[in-house]
Homo-oligomer: 481 residues x 2
């Protein structure tokens, strides 16, 4: 039995989802608040998840030819100002450095909110001929956006991310790269974070400042709200024209490059919490669980119990090509308390081993995702754990998909649309005429935004759900983080 004290320390998710979320990030020791308003400490348990996310994404990037670089964290004001839409989008929320040491700066510098302008400045220097293309770079860094309301992982003044920036000889190649990276993101969400993703295109109202097209992967959280989980932008040659990034093509004429950018952030950790967690705490998919298996000895002071636990740990650590991340909780806490901690921290699997199990040549495995308990013969330990980690990963994706599908609705007209958003929380699929006025009205009436025009379109009706004029696109609508 898990100890109740630790569990009772967190608010039930049905009662108050926002408070439940805040309790989880604190009690699972993912973050700590700081003296710096709107910024957080990512603690070891949180950062270890980010390291696994980084390693997995970075491998996927490199398989497509991406190379990592590092550009300055500062952008001179004159550089930020070069692309009109971009500066309008970001200037209201940047932090400004005005003094270096004891001297005022001649030109103030903003702390990068994103690095399109710096990459243009760099590509302008290194791209001269078609032989220098494509440039396919990425950087892992932190960025700053001076948000008024902040929440751990989901919205903070500083956050960690990766930002890919590419330059291509043709529009077609840029479009291809934009979609390729969106697919990398969708695969990563599903295969690694066990989060099913809706792939689609943002409306003009919701697209990135300066982009021709923004593609997005949208996920549904447990409370029925949407989370934009990654975006990929095609800039055409707009930035290249503003910054003068040109190359001599094979035909000996001077052309502008076509550019893209794409990013994912530490908000993914928020997504993992809100898609998979429950009232006992975090639930980590095995692929991003810093500890996948926690062995908890029962009556550990009895002779041989701890030794048996260590032996099992050593066997598991050697199995599956050394890929299983396993620990023994040999602290002096009670087993019940240890169970609660393992559940709170989201460790996917617990192995209970005590004198009775040892006598019977068995142990008990408890799955964090389903709560199921499985008795395992000692001789079958390694293959059982290895297989079960795969099963848990798959089942968590399946559970998330079922939840999303059960909370995805269809609306044919505005009454139905309003009724659904009045009574339920989730995605609503409905048709749209393409006019921003309808988006504005829907936002005003219901605090609902267009999440994306999915690549997989369905013909729900002929008419816009809002104005009744002829429909152009099916849109996923939702309330979003």
């Amino acid at each position: 039995m898990a100890d109740k004290k630790l569990v009772e320390a967190i608010t039930s998710m049905e009662e108050d989802f926002a408070q439940w979320y805040t309790d989880i990030v604190k009690k699972a020791e993912l973050i700590d608040y700081t003296s710096v308003k709107g910024c957080m400490v990512i603690r070891p348990a949180g950062y270890a998840i980010w390291e696994l996310i980084q390693a997995d994404l970075d491998r996927r990037f490199k398989e497509t030819g991406v190379k990592n670089v590092y550009l300055p964290m500062f952008i001179p004001e004159s550089l930020l100002n070069k692309e009109k839409d971009h500066v309008e989008g970001f200037a209201p929320e940047v932090a400004w450095v005005t003094h270096g040491g004891l001297e005022p700066l001649q030109e103030r510098l903003c702390v990068r909110p994103t690095s399109e302008t710096l990459f243009c400045d760099y590509y302008k220097n290194v791209v001269h001929s078609y032989r220098d293309l494509p440039q396919v770079c990425n950087q892992w860094c932190s960025v700053v956006r001076w948000e008024k309301e902040t929440r751990p992982f989901l919205r903070s003044r500083e956050f960690l991310w990766q930002e890919g920036h590419t330059a291509h000889a043709t529009a077609e190649e840029a479009e291809e790269r934009t979609r390729q990276m969106l697919n990398v993101y969708a695969d990563f969400l599903e295969q690694t974070l066990a989060i099913p993703a809706i792939k689609g295109r943002k409306t003009d109202k919701e697209k990135f400042a300066g982009a021709v097209a923004t593609y997005t992967v949208e996920a549904l959280m447990h409370d029925g709200k949407a989370l934009q989980s990654g975006t990929s932008h095609n800039f055409g040659d707009g930035f290249a024209q503003a910054f003068g990034v040109q190359f001599t093509d094979k035909d000996n004429t001077l052309k502008y490059v076509h550019q893209t950018s794409w990013g994912m952030t530490t908000r993914l950790i928020g997504a993992v919490i809100m898609v998979h967690g429950d009232d006992s705490g975090l639930k980590l998919p095995p692929a991003v669980a810093p500890t996948q298996v926690m062995i908890i000895p029962i009556q550990q002071k009895k002779e041989g119990v701890l030794d048996k636990a260590y032996e099992m740990r050593d066997r598991l650590a050697k199995a599956a090509g050394g890929t299983i991340r396993v620990q023994v909780d040999d602290s002096d806490k009670s087993p019940g308390w240890k169970f609660s901690e393992q559940e709170m921290r989201g460790i996917p699997m617990r192995i209970e081993i005590g004198p009775k199990d040892m006598e019977a040549g068995k142990c008990v495995i408890a799955r964090r995702d389903t709560g199921e308990k499985i008795e395992v013969n000692d001789a079958n330990l390694e293959p059982t754990v290895e297989k079960l980690l795969v099963t848990i990963q798959d089942d968590m994706l399946e559970a998330a998909r079922k939840h999303r599908d059960a909370h995805t609705y269809v609306a044919h007209d505005y009454d139905e649309f309003k009724q659904i958003f009045g009574e339920k929380a989730g995605f609503v699929k409905a048709m749209w005429c393409g006019d921003v006025e309808c988006e504005n009205r829907i936002k005003e009436d219901l605090s609902v935004t267009s999440r994306c025009m999915p690549f997989e379109q369905e013909q729900i009706s002929d008419k816009c759900v809002c104005c009744g004029k002829p429909a152009k696109h099916m849109v996923y609508w939702g309330r979003a983080y």
Copy 2:
């Protein structure tokens, strides 16, 4: 034969070492200059070296129980001001954020030059009892110091580093951790970067702002100047007192924690350039070479040559447990040009394969470190390359050690001391009385600083090399970057 054009593009190191260095970082495409004064772009070829450094150091850290975290990049002015020595050391060189979005901030924030103050703030929150100790954290991030004169990698306004910060229950444990991390640094320098290190303690004049003791690893560059390559600081309980970081010990009394910090930076890439490079370009030790082996086909348009090159690549990629980083240069450049590029980029080994070699069932391996050429039977390719990579790594360390030892001198009195620094460049071992006045005079007379009091002391004489009073320590002196 290597092509002369690329080589002639760089200044000879004997002629102008500083210009040679600048040429290397540009021609090997490690960095690019930016519109942001004093900041640089670390390009793919440079960043890939940093990724290998990070992976190696991170593994060594984790083996000693270090956990990674992320703290904010901003420090409120009031927090920076809490420890007197520390703020005096850093305040003159920090960048200040004064505006967030369109509003002036109530309190200005500095961009972290180092994070002792933030870690104290964090540990104050999470350390309550002896059970919460030790805290052994590290972060990989960038920091900003508003330097007036900058040089790529060696001194820039923003640079990448790791900063470890620990808190302990006792003074002994803190001292042990400080020295443990210095040993990690020394082992890393020798085993991975092939740079021999002098381990020692900084004098009070040269120690870190706020530290009780600073330990350092000092390396000698090719031009005879010293480079401080990593430092490890013991803070005692000074920061804990300033920030109120206390815990309840086993005896139920309230005590201050004892703290350490330790860091290495991207200047290590500068060290690799300046220890190993030559007039043909960079020379990378195999352990940090993104590409270790470049296969260059000769007469690649002749039938079978490229196929043979790819076959060799695939065989090498599979050998040695998949650890050999190998590529084929199949571009349409001339072999001579490819040789020059491979040499400029510092790739440790080149394999030449052409029709004549194929006929003879052989290939030619050229070592970047010694220039030696070795004929190898095709059947012996994998074991030869695997073994040779180890040999090159070892030989590069040995060559650097010989160079350092040949440029380390002994001075018994001030005349001899001045004569050596007048005629030669290198380390000088000489005795010191312990007074800062002598350090100041030596700096004024010769622009020479005390690099460290090495752990391995020698009794060169009884008297201070400067003032002639009784000597307390042997010191390594040098001109430093």
